[in-house]
Symmetry: C2
């Protein structure tokens, strides 16, 4: 199998409110689906508290290990919005005001906005603004890190405004629904994986579904390889096990 | 302020299905709320793929840094269930069959269960079984790591069966709902935090709510300290800003 190297991504969610269970993080799930759709391999999600040193260490490690890093949260005007400071710390650069963000704030808040308003013009030095379309604020990018807000409506709008810039070869998906338990099919999955080691094969038991007990997902960026693996697995399954196949 | 040291916890969610956006992780949110209720400080959630080396490195780092580590997922009978192998690797110990789990499987699957069934009797050497109550399987614990399954119904049942063993001094919570934007109250929050540096203070903007624009959460394990901080912040707020106070 030959293919271009897959783009690997991480999401860092910043916020005590997620860790204390006050707010459910929907941003990472939304972005996970968007990245998958674009053929990007999301390989880590980390939720960290509002602590500059923890944000900095997590961003630094992720920026080194992955091609793309997205942060969610911690970019408002209050004391617990520490993402910009943490990212600046990660890269050893100062926090500065971005002139375009400052100008945008002055359009809203007048010529003499308060310190809290101006905090939202701050970026790590060297950051650029991307995805600026229509009337939503652009996204701050520094190196391979994209800084997104925690409020889901704005997070999602900004992700959409970033568009298809991360698109690479798509994943192709096939699904098999099985009426047997995982223990009865595990050996067949192993045999197919031995023959098709590059196959991305998921096995997801479903409790108390009327029609099936396990959903199998087969994925690859190589569609012909995928369909050969699918045929291989179908052929191995005992009669009557397969409820439905989705291609 | 004097109090016993707070118990610090991490959750490691294991599964490609979360990272690819196929399945939404509800387990970490459920456990986050349970831990908070018990006075435990959850300080990290990490979602990792089904890769032994990544599971091992993540478990090792978390077990060193935090008092309690919970894993979610990757404990079934199929090829992508690699949590036990990863944890064993993290601690440099072999994977062995636990006699009580083996006996439980033989009660279900007969004297000669297949390899896939027996995989579910595997534990890292030195693990013990805890929280065994009623008819659900007990939870595997090794050192400070508790191994929980990915299927939410079973995850939640096992967390409940673990009971109150992690309980420490509770967090007390007060909430203030504010009709102004965050930028208008940021300086007051800063002033209260300067006077009450141990206060856990969260500021959560709500878009388009008819009654308030920001929800403030004030928390502490020291209720008297908390109520003094609450009074301080209320006194600083301009007239008309406060919509509602929840004690």
């Amino acid at each position: 199998m030959s293919e271009a190297r897959t783009t690997r991504a991480a999401i860092i969610v910043i916020g005590n409110e997620i860790l204390s269970g006050k707010i459910t993080d929907s941003n990472s799930g939304f972005l996970a689906r968007e990245l998958r759709r674009m053929g990007v391999s999301l390989e880590r999600i980390v939720v960290v508290p509002d602590v500059i040193a923890v944000i900095a260490a997590t961003v630094r490690a992720a920026a080194d290990e992955f091609d793309l890093v997205f942060t969610s949260g911690g970019v408002g005007p209050t004391h617990d919005d520490l993402t910009i400071a943490g990212i600046a710390d990660a890269f050893g650069c100062p926090v500065v005001q971005h002139p375009r963000l400052r100008a945008a704030i002055e359009r809203v808040g007048g010529d003499n906005p308060g310190a809290a308003m101006l905090k939202m013009a701050e970026v790590p030095e060297g950051a650029e603004l991307v995805g600026d379309e229509g009337d939503i604020f652009p996204t701050v990018r520094i190196r391979n890190v994209y800084v997104l807000p925690g409020v889901p409506e704005i997070f999602e709008a900004k992700v959409r405004a970033l568009g298809e810039r991360f698109r690479s070869a798509p994943y192709h998906l096939r699904q098999i629904y099985v009426s047997a338990y995982e223990t009865a099919i595990a050996e067949h999955l192993d045999a197919t994986l031995a023959a098709f080691p590059e196959l991305l094969l998921g096995s997801y038991p479903k409790l108390s579904h009327p029609e099936y007990k396990v959903r199998l997902t087969l994925e690859s960026k190589d569609e012909s390889y995928l369909d050969r693996a699918l045929s291989d697995l179908i052929a191995r399954m005992p009669p009557g096990f397969i409820v439905k196949i989705e291609r």
